[in-house]
């Protein structure tokens, strides 16, 4: 019985994490280039709605993913225009996008589907889980069958994409030309500019990548997890992803570990609901929900580790003299 619980915690951690991983890695590109991305939440919500609506209308999840990507990239470009070209306040822009999308997605969902701001159930238009070859043959073997069929296999394509992204992002950020320029723009845009790097173009490109990556987060929410769009269904995932980014010190591996940790908290929360724990007693779900945020504040306060943001973050780049 205990083993079964542990197994389901592990599986649901793996399934919870991609929403945060996509968004956090998206934020990583934006913020490493020097643009604060508080607008992750709005982009997740918009792509979640677009994915669900288009997947339902076409009965094809892949079109849904494409639509989500289009919407998310469009929002990222608005952010880029405001933060880079207009040199406006990046925080304000992100918050504006979050608030606007929270309202607009509901209005559109209500307008198109008339179901109280949600989309109809996607049923066959959801992404199917991948069944690895030989799953049935191994299923009766105790540990290996579960490991192969339910942990490594039996996941949606997007889960694999999320985990494969980690090495890719790591390589791009630390070993590619673009990554070098990206980091330079986030740390010292004037030096990058003097070295002949176009800060504006690099930041626009970073925001484009952020838009693409963030769209998967929304698509995952609707096409894999819930099977429909619901008002404000992102429920703070964008902020939590940002938190993971702060927690992971803007480094890909640590950020993903942060996402997995938050995914674990989510999984434990469901398991702990109504269970008596020695000493503490019955821990209410609402307080467990707060743990990731409290942990982050502690980290931010430098009590566990020191989190150092990219130096030029949030500052518009003005070519000097």
């Amino acid at each position: 019985m205990e083993d079964f619980q542990l197994a389901s915690i592990v599986v649901s951690t793996i399934r919870n994490a991609p929403v945060l991983m996509f968004a956090a890695l998206a934020g990583l590109f934006a913020e490493r280039s020097g643009v604060v991305d508080i607008g992750l939440e709005g982009k997740i919500l918009a792509s979640a709605f677009a994915s669900a609506a288009v997947a339902y209308a076409t009965q094809n999840p892949w079109y849904g993913i494409l639509a989500g990507m289009g919407v998310s990239v469009a929002l990222a470009m608005i952010q880029a225009f405001v933060s880079i070209t207009q040199k406006g306040n990046q925080l304000v822009c992100g918050i504006a996008i979050n608030i606007a999308m929270s309202g607009l997605t509901f209005v559109l969902a209500q307008f198109f589907f008339q179901q109280g701001g949600r989309t109809p159930d996607l049923r066959n238009a959801r992404l199917v889980d991948v069944i690895l070859p030989g799953t049935a043959a191994l299923d009766h073997i105790p540990v290996i069958g579960w490991l192969y069929g339910h942990l490594i296999g039996g996941q949606s394509v997007l889960v694999y994409v999320a985990f494969l992204l980690l090495p890719v992002v790591h390589w791009v950020v630390y070993h590619s030309r673009f990554g070098l320029r990206l980091r330079a723009c986030g740390e010292n845009p004037h030096a990058a500019d003097a070295a002949g790097v176009s800060v504006e173009r690099t930041r626009y490109l970073a925001m484009f990548v952020a838009g693409v990556l963030c769209s998967f987060s929304g698509a995952y929410l609707t096409l894999v997890q819930s099977g429909f769009f619901l008002r404000d269904m992102s429920a703070g995932a964008g902020y939590l992803a940002l938190t993971a980014l702060v927690f992971g010190n803007w480094r890909p591996l640590h950020t993903v570990l942060g996402c997995l940790m938050f995914g674990l908290f989510g999984a434990i929360q469901i398991q702990l609901e109504g269970v008596d724990i020695p000493v503490v007693g019955r821990l209410p779900g609402s307080l467990i929900q707060a743990i990731p945020y409290i942990v982050t504040v502690v980290v931010l306060a430098g009590l566990m580790a020191k989190s150092v943001a990219p130096k030029a973050i949030g500052k518009p780049f003005v070519k000097s003299r």
Partner: protein, 362 residues
């Protein structure tokens, strides 16, 4: 000679109006796409939020809360702090208020109960803002991120406290018990019967007083000078002898107290009990108000009334036009924040060109 800076009347008046118009234009486009007439919608909105006396009372009732939220964000902005946590501070402020009322409302008369409850709201709001302020001042953790975290922590904490301790026995609704009459704010319709059966109460007057005090404190006191100096250039202010970390902490305390006071209007003026998620985004509207009002008392007042009118008019509009639900106005709020806050200088180059053109002709 070409001037490169806009005159004050242009930045303070023309730009906000143009930005607001742009936001409303996009909103009108969306309303048009939803198959409704933007001009008719605007007429319904203005009729029910401004021209109708009862509607106007509701508009000002919502505005009272927004003024406090706007002041909370504005005063922090003066010191260069971006307080995104007004929502959480207002929520926790509501707890301080409720705690005082539940303990005392059976024993105290209204003239004593109301001020004590207000102090409770201000103190709890201030305490909730203190930790992010302290962490920013002493540990260098950015107030933007910590206040976001504190919004989420406040939501979880209040959920826990309300469900576990405040629901009266045998009740299902996640809310505290109803307050005694001594904790109800005097309504303004006692003096002005034309306002009808509306919740507009003395906290509107308090909000006006708060606006005046804010103006005097920020621009006419030495504390306000230190506050603004810190916001303009913390290094220079430090060099001039301003104790930066103390200014930051005190500013956040004041900001949190103002946000906490925002709870007074809706909890003691209307519902008379503490309910789950009662601020309903008012703290975030405060950000929009501070940005649009450019942290100036008159600006804060005008934008609070505008947002109050959008809420009140939007409610009536959603009843008449099912295609334009209330959430449309959340979208419009976002647009206003985008155009008036993030893209505030979008039209500046064009206006500058125009001004310089007329100058040349003159």
């Amino acid at each position: 000679m070409k001037k490169t800076e806009l005159p004050r009347w242009a930045t303070g008046f023309v730009l906000p109006i143009l930005n607001l118009m742009s936001a409303l234009l996009v909103a009108a486009l969306v309303i048009h796409l939803l198959g409704e007439s933007p001009s008719e919608s605007l007429r319904i909105l203005v009729d029910s939020a401004i021209l109708d006396p009862e509607g106007l009372a509701y508009t000002l009732f919502y505005a009272s809360t927004f003024i406090f939220a706007g002041l909370a964000v504005s005063i922090a902005m003066q010191a260069g702090l971006f307080n995104i946590g007004a929502e959480g501070q207002m929520y926790v402020g509501g707890l301080g208020l409720t705690w005082a009322v539940l303990a005392l409302d059976a024993h105290l008369p209204g003239w004593l109960m109301i001020p004590i409850a207000m102090i409770g709201a201000a103190v709890f709001g201030a305490l909730w803002a203190f930790i992010p302020g302290y962490l920013q001042a002493k540990r260098g953790s950015h107030v933007v991120v910590t206040t976001i975290m504190f919004n989420f922590i406040a939501a979880s904490l209040m959920n826990f406290v309300i469900v576990k301790y405040l629901i009266p026995e045998g009740q299902q609704n996640p809310a505290s018990r109803v307050f005694a009459d001594s904790a109800a704010l005097p309504l303004l319709n006692k003096i002005f019967p034309v306002l009808g059966d509306t919740p507009l109460n003395i906290s509107f007057i308090l909000a006006i007083v708060a606006l005046v005090i804010y103006g005097v404190m920020v621009w006419r006191s030495s504390w306000g000078y230190e506050l603004r100096a810190t916001g303009l250039n913390a290094h220079a202010a430090h060099y001039a002898g301003v104790r930066i970390s103390r200014t930051i902490i005190v500013t956040m305390l004041v900001s949190g107290a103002l946000a906490g006071l925002g709870a007074v209007n809706s909890v003691m003026g209307s519902t008379h009990y503490l309910s789950l998620n009662f601020p309903a985004g008012a703290g975030f509207v405060g950000i929009a108000i501070a940005l649009m009002g450019r942290q100036h008392p008159v600006g804060i007042f005008l934008s609070s009334v505008l947002f109050g009118a959008l809420i009140q008019g939007g409610f009536d509009l959603s009843l008449e036009k099912p295609n334009i639900p209330q959430e449309t106005f959340i979208f419009i709020q976002g647009l206003i924040i985008l155009f008036c806050g993030a893209m505030e200088n979008f039209y500046a180059p064009a206006i500058l060109k125009l001004i310089n053109l007329t100058r040349k002709e003159a």
